[in-house]
């Protein structure tokens, strides 16, 4: 069976995957509610509908971050070596990248959760 997990790539860009997911999630939530609160009358949507939609989107974002974390964990050699990863070898460079990406995935996961909190507790636009 062909694996659905992306194969390993050699690039610096993967470091930014999880924070980019956070940024996209942040923008979608903010813009989503900003447009909704400005245009509620003409949109025929309830606040709860927007909230549920963005809730599902939040779960998707979290899933993406978990995937990024898994790939990072793999790049880190599944945690076989401990930091500081400061040897002048390709292996240590990869492990460093993996570990830093893993840490960033953790931070992004928490930051996305923070974004979800207002959507749980605030039930209307409240201008």
């Amino acid at each position: 069976m062909k694996s659905v997990i992306p194969r390993e790539v050699e690039t610096l860009w993967t470091l930014f995957t999880a924070p980019v997911v956070w940024a996209v999630h942040f923008l979608v939530c903010y813009v989503g509610f900003a447009v909704y609160c400005a245009k509620a009358l003409s949109l025929h949507l309830s606040f709860d509908a927007v909230r549920i939609g963005l809730g599902v989107f939040t779960l998707l974002a979290l899933a993406m971050i978990v995937l990024s974390a898994y790939l990072a964990w793999r790049q880190w050699g599944y945690g076989t070596g401990d930091p500081p990863h400061d040897a002048p070898t390709r292996q240590d460079r990869k492990h460093f990248q993996g570990f830093a990406t893993l840490l960033l995935s953790g931070l992004s996961f928490i930051a996305v959760l923070y974004m979800a909190i207002p959507m749980i507790f605030i039930a209307e636009c409240q201008r």
């Binding site: 930091p83 002048p88 930051a111 923070y114 207002p118 636009c125």
Partner: protein, 838 residues
């Protein structure tokens, strides 16, 4: 793989050094100012920024004198307004950001093991732009014409010409000019860090400073362009009465606040991260051990870089946005505490794990961290919406921001200056003077700014020029003023310590602090930077690689010579830093000064609406830039490869994604794209604030915008075709380029035809103004695109662009990818969105 190092006799070495000196030498006499060497540019940049800081600090003292007692009339209300506006503006735009650009330009090549950053002339251009723009903005106060609406220039106050006079124009145009310099520095720094590291310096071995600077330069690309877009709208309103922020004609001042703070909040981190980066170099040295948690610092830098873009609305909590929106920004503001906390804990852990030497740099560093943590804690308070509503626009915020900025930026920068002074001059600053300066600054700062929390909580609003007696603010203000002067005495002590003559050290020591990082191998008496470019195998090469210093000085590594008579540095791969190119960088030149002064002339002439002078200066700028590119870039080398030493031959000319020029174009266009996105954001912003955003006015129609879109896409296709054909021979490419130029110009005409033929009046309402501004943006980019096509045609005809040496056309094709995207979005939005939304 082991590489045998070079071995040269004393005579050979002397001859090499002679050649290196000749190539890298700084010109003498008046021509000194034409130097583009990173050590000169960095030094001038730092001294200029520091002078601006002292000027703005002086304005701060004047304000404190005015506020020392109630009902004081030492300064007039208007002068006070000019003083606080200029104080904030200068500190942020002319000190905090430029000083880090200065430090980066000065330090990065040595830290990375490069001879020079990839675009030295661009750095020089940035510096001269900065100097001219800065003097223009600062000088205005001597003519009673300084901006006076606060450093964030809120409309409608700042758009009111009767109130703000010419000051707002000086602010907008002077600073736009400096923003250009910042983006130039960002390009230089990113490409430098990614491509110009010493062989072997893989990304897991990069100095912490480089990691931080890489992130910060990336942030500049996304933070400054929204402000440039905002400045454009603002200046169009002031100069031509286009009503972007005028509510009566459908505009909205909140759009300015959004654009300003999308810049303004990341800005705080743009100046904080480089300061922390200095700490990340200083703390390990004085703990005499590697930093604890290198990866965690990377987490902190990258994490802060991203999260800082989700905070801007916390400056707008009191503007009546929906509370759900406020809550998002409150949440993100609390989240950014996590990475910020991580980096502070990393420093504490490093100090605990090592044996700390409490030298002057460490005093300033730790003192700064203490102040910063207090500012961070009040930051957590004002990030909470209900608290912010109470404290908004009071002295509590003034206290908070000074704790953050002075603790998070000024103290670490002073620490950095003490630390790197021997690197610059070969001499140390005095310990005794340094300690005196520290304690005066530290105590003075707290005496000055801590009471502001309390006067703020007692309701004292910021930016008042005086206050009545006996409402509970008198003592706090008196104490603050006393503290401000103690603080100023500390700064004066520091300045005197720098300026006083110092005896040369009895034994020259290149590395007086026993640091581990590469920059300390450089001899400040020589202009070449690295004597030879070493192979790196550690994060702290001076601690871990024996004989490194001696081998570098003996020219045993790469590029020990300058036989070609050109300035050369190594380009290496992004991840593993394997050598891939011998890059020839630009040398001493007048052209950068001419370009910067002429561009400055454009901005200054615009301020005073001297149209003819504007046009003349624009032509000079254009001619200077074309001369610069024509003579200085993409030059066909005398041989495809050159010997860089240690038996390695590398290409001199590469094109496409492997070249530094391609990356510079890519990075510039990312910033440009962000400015464009900000304008499109404006278009949709107006859509959200109005029920009918067109106000029933005539749009540009569908036919002309779609025609423009199709023609721009066709021009893009022709440009790509020209790039393909050029590989086979010049003729096909030339024909394709001629066709591309014609189609591009037609596309530009079609782009303007819609709003023009439908007689859209940009002064009548914000809708026609918005359509015009995005169409003009796309068309101006189209004209630039046509000039680039013409340039390639000329290069091909002159034999400077061939199938093998095709940097020009490849970079232009890259520009056109962005151009096509801009055109498609612009004309699809202005042509089709009114139909969809109706």
């Amino acid at each position: 793989m082991s590489i045998e190092l070079g071995n040269f006799t004393a005579e050979e070495r002397a001859a090499q050094e002679e050649r290196l000196r000749k190539v890298w030498g700084t010109p003498k006499g008046l021509r000194y100012w034409t130097s583009v060497n990173n050590s000169e540019i960095g030094l001038w940049y730092a001294c200029t920024a520091f002078a601006f800081m002292l000027f703005a600090g002086g304005l701060g003292l004047l304000m404190r004198l005015q506020l020392v007692v109630p009902n004081n009339n030492f300064l007039s209300a208007d002068f006070f307004n000019q003083a606080f506006t200029l104080h904030g503006t200068v500190m942020m735009f002319l000190f905090a950001v430029p000083i880090f650009e200065a430090i980066a330009i000065f330090l990065l090549p040595s830290m990375l093991g490069a001879r020079e950053l990839p675009f030295p002339r661009l750095s020089a251009f940035g510096y001269w732009s900065f100097l001219l723009g800065g003097v223009f903005v600062c000088g205005s106060i001597f003519f009673n014409a300084a901006p006076n609406a606060g450093w964030f220039m809120y409309p409608p106050l700042a758009t009111d010409e009767k109130y703000s006079g010419i000051g707002a124009d000086i602010w907008l145009l002077g600073l736009s000019f400096i923003e250009v310099a910042s983006i130039a520095a960002a390009v230089e720094i990113i490409v430098g860090i990614m491509k110009c590291r010493a062989p072997g310096m893989r990304i897991n071995l990069m100095p912490m400073f480089a990691w931080y600077l890489l992130i910060v330069a990336g942030m500049i690309l996304f933070a400054f362009p929204p402000l440039i877009a905002g400045d454009l709208l603002f200046e169009m309103e002031r100069m031509f009465d286009w009503p972007f922020f005028d509510v009566a004609r459908g505009g909205d001042p909140l759009l300015w606040q959004h654009l300003f703070w999308i810049f303004g909040h990341p800005e705080v981190y743009i100046i904080f991260l480089p300061a922390i980066a200095l700490m990340a170099m200083i703390v390990p040295t004085f703990s005499q051990r590697p930093i604890v948690g290198y990866s965690w610092i990377v987490l902190a830098a990258v994490g802060t870089g991203f999260l800082s873009f989700g905070l801007w609305v916390h400056h707008m909590f009191a503007t009546g946005l929906p509370q759900i929106s406020l809550a998002f920004f409150s949440a993100a503001s609390e989240a950014v505490v996590i990475p910020t906390g991580v980096q502070i804990f990393v420093f504490v852990a490093t100090m605990l794990a090592g044996r700390v030497i409490f030298s002057v740099p460490m005093l300033f560093g730790t003192g700064g961290l203490i102040i910063f943590v207090i500012g961070g804690l009040t930051g957590v308070m004002v990030a909470l919406v209900p608290f912010d509503w109470q404290a908004h626009d009071t002295y509590f915020v003034v206290a908070h921001l000074h704790y953050v900025l002075i603790g998070g930026m000024l103290f670490p920068v002073v620490a950095g200056i003490y630390y790197y002074f021997p690197f610059v001059t070969g001499k140390k600053l005095s310990d005794a003077w340094g300690k005196a300066a520290f304690w005066l600054m530290f105590t003075g700062f707290n005496i000055a700014f801590f009471p502001m929390h309390l006067s703020g909580l007692r309701g004292m609003p910021r930016r008042v020029f005086t206050y009545p007696q006996d409402i509970g603010w008198d003592w706090f203000n008196l104490i603050s003023t006393v503290g401000a002067f103690v603080f100023a005495a500390g700064v004066a002590t520091f300045v005197i310590d720098i300026l006083r003559p110092k005896p040369a050290p009895s034994e020259p020591n290149l590395n007086p602090w026993n640091s581990g990082t590469l920059e300390w191998t450089n001899n400040p008496a020589e202009d070449w930077g690295m004597r030879s470019v070493p192979i790196i195998s550690s994060r702290y090469p001076l601690w871990d690689q024996p004989n490194l210093q001696a081998d570098i000085e003996a020219g045993r590594f790469y590029l020990p010579d300058a036989k070609s008579g050109r300035r050369e540095t190594l380009v290496t791969s992004v991840l593993d830093a394997t050598p891939i190119q011998c890059l020839r960088v630009g040398g001493t030149s007048y052209v950068t000064i001419v370009a910067a002064l002429a561009l400055g002339g454009v901005f200054i002439a615009l301020t005073f609406k001297w149209w003819i002078a504007t046009i003349i200066c624009s032509i000079i700028t254009f001619a200077a830039i074309v001369t610069w590119l024509w003579r200085g870039t993409a030059q066909i080398p005398e041989a495809p490869e050159t010997d860089v030493g240690l038996g390695l031959k590398l290409p001199i000319y590469v094109s496409g994604p492997a070249s530094v020029g391609w990356w510079a174009m890519f990075i510039t266009m990312v910033g440009d794209g962000t400015a464009f996105a900000s304008l499109i954001f404006g278009y949709f912003f107006y859509w959200t604030v109005h029920d009918d955003f067109t106000a029933a006015a005539q749009g540009p129609g569908v036919v002309w915008p779609i025609t423009a879109l199709v023609l721009f896409v066709a021009a893009w296709g022709l440009t790509l075709l020209a790039r393909q054909l050029n590989e086979k021979g010049p003729n096909g490419a030339r024909i394709a380029l001629v066709a591309a130029i014609i189609v591009t110009l037609a596309a530009c005409g079609a782009g303007l035809a819609g709003p023009y033929l439908y007689a859209m009046d940009p002064t009548a309402h914000v809708y026609p103004a918005t359509v015009w501004i995005v169409a003009i943006w796309a068309v101006v980019h189209g004209v630039v695109g046509a000039i680039m096509q013409l340039y390639c045609l000329a290069r091909s005809l002159a034999g400077k662009m061939t199938g093998e040496y095709d940097q020009d056309i490849r970079n232009v094709a890259l520009y056109w990818h962005f151009m096509a995207f801009t055109a498609v979005v612009t004309f699809a939005v202005v042509g089709l969105f009114p139909l969809v939304s109706a």
